[in-house]
């Protein structure tokens, strides 16, 4: 008989390890990236791949320097690189993408000691880094137009005719695209701008502003509007997020309370010259980066609280900050900074929200 292993119990382990979790999350993000490619063109796909490659290379490099076994196989670097690409505009230069993705892994993750040790969500650190260093890259006043509908030609030389045709037909199936789309501001900034331009005594609601500016809810859901590469397709992100919840990989509380808080407060809070209780919950929820933030960024295990109560507090805090930034802040979108700020509060939340010990009765 071969020699027997002697070890402490338990002797069996769940099959779900870090690798399984990370790669599943990556899979759930793929559809939104594909949609981003359909809407914004092949350059978007190139940026995603460049970002993933940079992230994996940086992870490997740090492992080498620290003389640790490489951790690129666990999928966490791929996930971070992917998420970073999803939250940058589709016309970002390759150079800025590489820089941001490197910041994601080096500043966001490895500087703290790698997976499990970081305080802030790495992809959002990368985005915050790029927006500080290259503000004009992230805070666009006009975004590149959606490149789906045109007979693709000169500006995308490396794109083959066949794929262009496929892209066109996909786009036609998935929504009513304005064939003559031109560069424009993102839906959130259009509405914010319109709200500010209103008369001080106006009784207009946000829903009316949305309608007046020809913003279609269906296009917001399918992703046919300007925005960052992977954040525009609210529908596919919701689908991926719900699958992760059903697989019990992420907890339902964070997305539920985050989105719920944003919905409620967007309806309540004034924006520009639109008064109290005139907001549009649906519009606020499906535009901007809320879906990718709520389902894929705020739910990052490492940077979110561990107990159910803590998760709830964290999510409500993210929602509150998002609406405050969106409605009263200088930026049209607040998801990135709201999550980063709440990440900072996680140790404090964890300290006060401890699990209920068995056998200790509440008085």
């Amino acid at each position: 008989m071969a020699s027997l292993l002697v070890s402490n119990s338990p002797h069996i382990r769940s099959e779900e390890d870090i690798k399984a979790i990370m790669w599943t999350v990556v899979m759930m993000l793929v559809p939104a990236g594909l949609m981003g490619t359909v809407v914004f063109g092949w350059y978007a796909a190139l940026l995603i791949l460049v970002s993933i490659f940079t992230a994996v290379a940086c992870e490997h490099l740090v492992n080498k320097i620290r003389k640790l076994p490489t951790t690129i196989g666990d999928g966490s670097a791929v996930l971070a690189g992917m998420l970073f690409a999803y939250v940058i505009p589709p016309n970002t230069s390759i150079f800025v993408t590489v820089l941001g993705s490197a910041a994601t892994i080096l500043l966001g993750k490895q500087l703290f000691g790698g997976l499990g040790c970081n305080i802030w969500n790495p992809a959002l650190v990368g985005r915050a880094f790029v927006s500080a260093a290259y503000a004009s890259v992230i805070f666009l006043s006009t975004w590149p137009r959606i490149r789906i509908d045109k007979t693709l030609g000169g500006d995308s030389g490396w794109l083959s005719e066949r794929f262009a045709a496929l892209q066109n037909s996909l786009a036609q199936i998935m929504g009513n695209i304005n064939v003559d789309a031109v560069s424009q501001a993102s839906p959130l900034s259009i509405v914010k701008g319109a709200a500010k331009a209103l008369d001080a005594n106006a009784t207009t609601t946000v829903s009316e502003l949305v309608k007046n500016n020809d913003i279609s809810y269906m296009n917001l859901l399918t992703g046919h509007h300007v925005g960052c590469i992977g954040e525009t397709s609210a529908g596919l992100l919701i689908l991926g997020g719900l699958i992760l919840i059903a697989m019990k990989i992420v907890d339902w509380r964070i997305p539920f309370f985050y989105i719920g808080t944003v919905a409620l407060l967007s309806w309540i809070m004034p924006i520009g010259n639109v008064g109290w209780f005139h907001g549009d919950a649906l519009f606020s929820v499906i535009s901007g980066g809320l879906m990718i933030g709520a389902f894929f960024m705020a739910t990052d295990f490492v940077t979110s609280p561990m107990t159910p109560l803590g998760k709830g507090i964290f999510a409500v805090g993210c929602g509150l900050l998002t609406v405050l930034i969106r409605n009263f802040g200088g930026f049209p979108e607040g998801v990135c900074y709201s999550i980063l700020l709440m990440n900072t509060c996680v140790p404090l939340i964890d300290r006060f929200c401890t699990p209920r010990l068995f056998g200790v009765v509440k008085k």
Partner: protein, 419 residues
Amino acid sequence: MSKDQPIKQAPTPDIVYLSLRQHLGAPSKAVVKVGDLVKKGQIVAEPGGFVSSAVHSPVSGKVKEIKPHPHMMGPLADAVVVENDGKDEWFEGCNVATNWESMTPEQLKEKIRMSGIVGLGGATFPTHVKLSPPPEKKIDSAILNGVECEPYLTADYRLMIEQPDRVVEGFRIIMKVLGVSKGYIGVEANKPDAYIIMKEKGAKYGIEAVMLKVKYPQGAEKQLISAILGREVPSGGLPMDVGCVVQNVGTAAAIYDACAKNIPLLTRIMTVSGDGVSHTANYNIVLGQMLGPILKECGLKDGIRKLVFGGPMMGLAEPSENIPLAKGNSGVLALIAGVEKYEPRMCIRCSRCIDHCPMGLNPSVLSLLSDISDFTSMEKHHAMDCIECGVCTYMCPSRRMIVQQIKLGKQRILASRKK
């Protein structure tokens, strides 16, 4: 599946190794000498204190030696080795039916103590101690644990459906000793046949069968009480603090044999399972029998990597199959797949351990504190409340050895308390 295998009687071995450390508490003290002739059911070692237990010979024959021998719970412990003479002669007074109902609770308790009965679910705590709560603790309910304490094990289930009368009669004796009129038998919902039999047999004695959700660790004492009575044993407390006493179904059957038939604890039922055997089985085996031959009979495969005595979550991995059966051994698992050594990674704070901890602990924090040897803080984070069920380690995607680290912390905390 071993669930469908009827209990088989294993052949009586030529030699038995009766360890004096088969229970929690002080080791037993041998009362025979090398060369003595003993009969089946004769006491070979008496309890070495109040929290201790007796050992009896399951065969008739000659005491060959008394010396340290490998046993289930550690490297070596004194064992009385008896050579079977094959005559199968009962010791005087053994295997004689008596009417237990005419005995007083005190007499029953003494009978249980001298019959070497310990918790057969695996904890091996001496049963008479558990049945002697201090007078200030008012006991109002007795609970019988028919929940197999771990996955893979089916010994309790087979006992309940094949020999329900032993279980129910034994439970009645327990209830008489404790002076309670209300008894509950907890059975998991995936064993409806056992539930029905227990319900029918127990009804006329004030014994209620309770169907419980299938989950691990449902068979842990505190979780079982909470599931049946809705009472939570206070942190640091014992079941008697909430007015109940829990016994395993196998223990009840052994109590019945002791009190109604004058047969001390000589055998137990054990499951053989895992991917390292070609067929799973449930055996009735005499205590002290070497388990190697039993495993061979089940088609032990060559490539086995791990031999676990007990269940997969809390059982003990043994270095050899040449270990005698002890009172607390409810199963042997021969494992091939899934026993590789895992490299622990940093905690990714996924909170699976917190979500699944039956005691409401934060195993993640305890594990991190153990990493830096901060045992004082571990105590503040309630490490001593851990029941060591292993769910945290099982669930951990970072493959951290959480429960192992908590066990270490508990030992260190206890050591520092003694100082």
